[in-house]
């Protein structure tokens, strides 16, 4: 019997291999004398993986018999994920959660999740898609609950586990229908398998697409499948919240794009309206939900729902410009959220207010180096000019108008207007001497406020001066302004991603 050894493209797989090796090393370091080196080893692993990915830039290849595709879309999204993970490692230094869960385990889980995300960004087969999404989710369920002494953290982990499993099950169920309807698990095979019938002609395919879409909407926290987001975000250790808010969303959007813009591209006319409605709903529900939130983590959670709606707009138009805009916005979103979360973490550790908005009141006078990044982040998320957020919105709106979805562009404009009503009060709390005598603020001295819990006592009164917190915040804020004034580098980065699909 003649047996051909399968061709293994080690160069293409090298980033995944590097991450896998890194997980093992970090995990082993926990039981070795090098216990304290886990963060350093994790950063080293992430840097290696990033270097290998950049090496593969502009050289698209199919891997593992076409189950994975390492193209510029995958690489650009993976780089966003790796950047966010590296920042998470820095932000997790001295975090109670890392101590309690064990630094080695915590970082190994983080790397496991990153591995899943990098894999997911490359997936172009239902099987690798599902494996990747589970690989990224399961470590996150645990990471959410790593703050073992806090009830809310455990609650967050459990909630995420249950809702996440439901999402995964829905996804898997949908995949089964798709396979049944099209006879293939490959995205390309699905595209040819359903093109004869059309989506609406075949109930199997229709149900499959709908369920898969719902599963993806769970992962990207798109309304109305977002209800878990604020609760999970609020309870999870803050560095993990920041990681989930950006990295999970980025990776899930990568496969979202690949699934809809590759496998289902021929039927674009049929699914576009449905996704457009989801995007619009997400924009409205996220922005309205964020109004009046006193907990910054919940606020950022709801704002993430709204931002996911904007990003989905880039997918809806099923065009190269749309994917470009989506990747650009994800990049900008990563920097804006990173700056915000770094400041929230610093204040959480040095004030008794937890993640309540009270924690940043008067910040401009107290810690200007923290106030500026949070201000720029809020202005950027609100889409004001001279920030990357403005250019991102401009990019998305241009793609939407070109794709004949002007009404969705108007939704983005209206959503942005609503969003000012919750982003700007955060800025006002930092810079303006308002409400100082109001009863709300007077009660803030006690522990009975939103976002704070009895356990939220300051753990590190000097956190606002720690370089590993201030530097990521400042660098991310500088990037937001830089790409708002000189967007061309990020535009070219995003254009590579878009041209790899179309």
């Amino acid at each position: 019997m003649n047996f051909d050894a399968p061709h293994i493209d080690y160069a293409g797989l090298s980033p995944l291999i590097a991450l896998t090796v890194g997980i093992c090393v970090v995990l082993l370091s926990a039981v070795s004398p090098l216990r304290r080196s886990a963060p350093g080893l994790t950063l080293l692993t992430l840097a290696t993986a990033a270097g290998l990915l950049i090496w593969r830039w502009n050289d698209p290849t199919d891997l593992v018999a076409g189950a994975l595709r390492l193209d510029d879309l995958a690489i650009s999204i993976s780089l966003v994920v790796l950047l966010m993970a590296a920042a998470t490692v820095l932000l997790s230094l001295r975090e109670p959660a890392t101590e309690e869960a064990g630094s080695g385990e915590y970082h190994a889980l983080l790397l496991g999740s990153v591995l899943g995300m990098v894999l997911l960004a490359q997936a172009q087969n239902l099987v690798s898609f599902f494996i990747a999404i589970e690989t990224l989710s399961i470590p996150l369920y645990i990471l959410c609950a790593t703050n073992l002494r806090q009830e809310r953290s455990l609650e967050s982990g459990l909630k995420y586990l249950i809702v996440g499993s439901l999402g995964s099950a829905t996804l898997l169920y949908g995949m089964a229908f798709l396979y049944g309807g099209s006879g293939s698990t490959d995205f390309a095979g699905i595209a040819t398998g359903i093109s004869q019938e059309g989506v609406l002609g075949d109930p199997l395919i229709l149900i499959g697409i709908a369920l898969t879409g719902v599963g993806l909407a769970f992962k990207t926290s798109i309304a109305p499948f977002h209800q878990w987001t604020p609760d999970v975000y609020e309870g999870a250790p803050t560095p993990i919240t920041g990681f989930m808010a950006v990295a999970t969303k980025a990776a899930a959007f990568a496969v979202f794009v690949r699934f809809f813009d590759v496998a289902l591209l021929p039927q674009a006319d049929e699914w576009q309206p449905a996704l457009a409605v989801l995007a619009a709903a997400s924009i409205v529900i996220g922005n309205v939900g964020a109004l009046g939130q006193r907990s910054l983590k919940r606020l950022l959670g709801y704002s993430g729902v709204a931002q996911a709606g904007y990003i989905l707009g880039g997918l809806v138009v099923a065009s190269e410009a749309g994917v470009n805009a989506l990747v650009f916005y994800l990049g900008a979103y990563a920097f804006m959220n990173l700056a915000a979360f770094a400041v929230v973490i610093a204040r959480e550790r040095e004030t008794p207010h937890g993640d309540s908005i009270e924690a940043v009141r008067g910040l401009a006078a107290e810690r200007p180096l923290l106030a500026w990044p949070l201000t720029i982040s809020m202005l950027g998320l609100a889409g004001l000019p001279a920030t990357a957020g403005f250019i991102g919105k401009l990019y998305l709106i241009e793609a939407l108008v070109e794709g004949d979805y002007t009404w969705l562009a108007v939704f983005i404009a209206v959503g942005t207007m609503i969003s000012l009503a919750y982003y700007l009060p955060v800025v006002a709390a930092m810079w303006m001497r308002s409400e100082e005598e109001s009863p709300e603020a007077a009660g803030a001295a006690g522990p009975a406020i939103a976002g704070a819990s009895p356990e939220a006592d300051p753990t590190d009164p000097e956190a606002g001066r720690r370089l590993y917190l201030v530097a990521p915040a400042l660098l991310a804020a500088a990037a937001v302004v830089f790409f708002g004034i000189v967007p061309q580098p990020l535009v070219e980065f995003a254009e590579h991603a878009g041209s790899s699909l179309f």
């Binding site: 562009a409 404009a413 942005t416 207007m417």
Partner: protein, 501 residues
């Protein structure tokens, strides 16, 4: 030239961050002074006969999106740029004379505001215009919110400012969508450009013009503000610090009116003709409502604020007469109003310092020992009410002339506004300077002459009013060619429509 003019204020602002606190104010004033010198040089080199853009800068900014960094000067904006530079110098100097909390940030925001405003006037790329138009809000958000005054009835400065931002951004964000849609539709699948001159060459289809017109109009009418869209004005005006309010009211409102001339008329000529009467109704309503409110208010700031609504109504009416004389008058009146309202707010600040109140009922008798201040105020007042002999009279005359020739019914209503303006302007002057206070027990009023240093700020501004009154042709001569060109775009597009009238 245009480039250095645009970025000088911001550069000074950033350097100012590293100076000691007591110097920042003067450093910022120096920055605005340099900008003013550049603006004067720009005017000196301006070729008054040419209709097209001069001193242009055109660099690709985001080629992937078709956005260019392009600036230029023509008759429409050259005097508004000069006005901006002048009022900012006055406002900044006035603020530098007084103690400011956190002066570094205050003056950085002032200068950032100047750069953003100059950018909005200079931009010749539609998206660059929108960007600067929105960017103007950011510094004023901080200036109003962080240095504003909270009202005793519980409306905090930050709440008032939030209201202003939300109102104005409603318009601007829709304008962003409209601007992008204009570029995309005009490209028709080809290369996208947002150059205003390019887009004006071949306006987009009438159906698209209709909705995009209103997206732009919403942004500009809120900014002015016009009647029904002015909800943010009373709170924001009462909260704002006065030196900032002087430049805000003097310049930022004009950006809206300027936007109509720069963007709406050339790019959406069919829609402009179609909705001419609707906008004129809004403009007349602003004139009447603003005037009536101005003479019922007792807060000095609100008198000035509502009078601005009325004046901007006149300017809008002049533009939407869609004739060269009306638009000429509108451009002249934009400069006039800026020159009048900024000194007015500085005088209000001086009066408030002397009487400890901004309520008309608490003021009065100020002229007795302050003849110079009273004389300066009188000049400003007479200019406000468009006394014959003032440049405002010339401006209003041109506007009304244009309106008579295109829509005579509207002109008759607008004339009522002229009469009303005399009433509120004189009432403001009399109640503050001459009448004794109603409450005689109020001993807080101090009739004190204007100080030398404040005088150095106020006198040049008032001198500009006088100079312009003597020689309004300075402006009209240079704007006319550009205005003719802008207005002809509308008349070319719809010759049938206009001929029928």
């Amino acid at each position: 030239m245009t480039n250095s003019l645009l970025w000088t204020p911001l550069a000074f602002g950033l350097i100012g961050l590293f100076l000691p606190k007591r110097l920042t104010g003067w450093w910022a004033t120096l920055g605005t002074g340099v900008t003013l010198a550049l603006a004067v040089a720009l005017l000196a080199g301006f070729d008054s006969g040419a209709a097209g853009l001069q001193d242009t800068v055109d660099v690709e900014w985001i080629p992937g999106l078709g956005v260019d960094y392009s600036l230029g000067v023509d008759g429409l904006n050259v005097f508004l740029i000069l006005l901006t530079a002048l009022l900012w110098t006055g406002g900044t100097a006035f603020a530098a004379l007084r103690e400011q909390e956190r002066p570094h940030l205050f003056f950085l925001m002032m200068l950032l505001g100047e750069t953003a405003t100059l950018g909005a006037f200079l931009a010749q790329d539609l998206l660059l215009f929108v960007l600067f138009f929105d960017l103007m809000l950011v510094p004023f958000y901080f200036l109003f919110g962080a240095w504003g005054t909270d009202r005793p009835d519980g409306v905090t400065a930050s709440a008032a400012t939030l209201k202003m931002i939300v109102y104005t951004l409603i318009g601007s964000l829709l304008m962003l969508v409209g601007a992008i849609a204009t570029g995309v539709i005009a490209a028709g699948g080809g290369d996208i450009t947002f150059s205003i001159a390019e887009l004006a060459r071949q306006p987009i289809g009438e159906g698209s013009q209709r909705w995009i017109f209103w997206f732009f109009a919403a942004a500009f009418l809120v900014k002015m503000p016009a009647f029904l869209l002015h909800g943010w004005m009373p709170d924001a005006y009462r909260a704002a610090p006065l030196p900032v309010l002087a430049v805000f009211s003097g310049v930022l409102a004009k950006v809206g009116a300027y936007g109509f001339l720069r963007v709406v008329l050339p790019l959406f000529p069919d829609a402009t003709v179609e909705f001419q009467e609707v906008v004129l109704v809004i403009a007349l309503a602003s004139i009447l409502y603003g005037s009536v409110m101005a003479f019922t208010q007792t807060n000095v700031r609100l008198v000035a604020g509502y009078s601005s609504i009325a004046q901007l109504g006149f300017i809008t009416a002049g533009i939407f007469a869609l004739r060269a004389d009306g638009a000429d008058g509108a451009v002249l009146q934009m400069v006039n109003h800026g020159l009048v309202v900024a000194p007015l707010f500085i005088i209000v600040a001086l009066l408030a310092e002397r009487s400890g109140s901004e309520d008309l009922r608490e003021m009065g008798g100020m002229a007795t020992r302050a003849p110079v201040l009273a004389a300066l105020f009188l000049i400003v007042t007479l200019a406000t009410l468009a006394m014959p002999g003032s440049a405002n009279f010339v401006g209003e005359f041109y506007i009304l002339n244009g309106l008579f020739n295109s829509k005579i019914a509207f002109a008759f209503v607008a004339i009522v506004g002229v009469a009303l303006s005399a009433y509120y302007a004189l009432r403001l002057y009399q109640r503050t300077m001459h009448n004794r206070p109603a409450s005689q027990q109020n001993k807080g009023i101090e009739s004190r002459e204007i100080g030398l240093r404040d005088g150095l700020v106020l006198v040049p501004l008032v001198a500009c009013i006088v100079a312009l009154a003597l020689y309004p042709q300075l402006i009209l001569k240079r704007t006319d060619a550009s205005v003719q060109q802008t207005v002809s775009a509308v008349q070319d597009q719809a010759p049938g429509e206009l001929a029928r009238r």
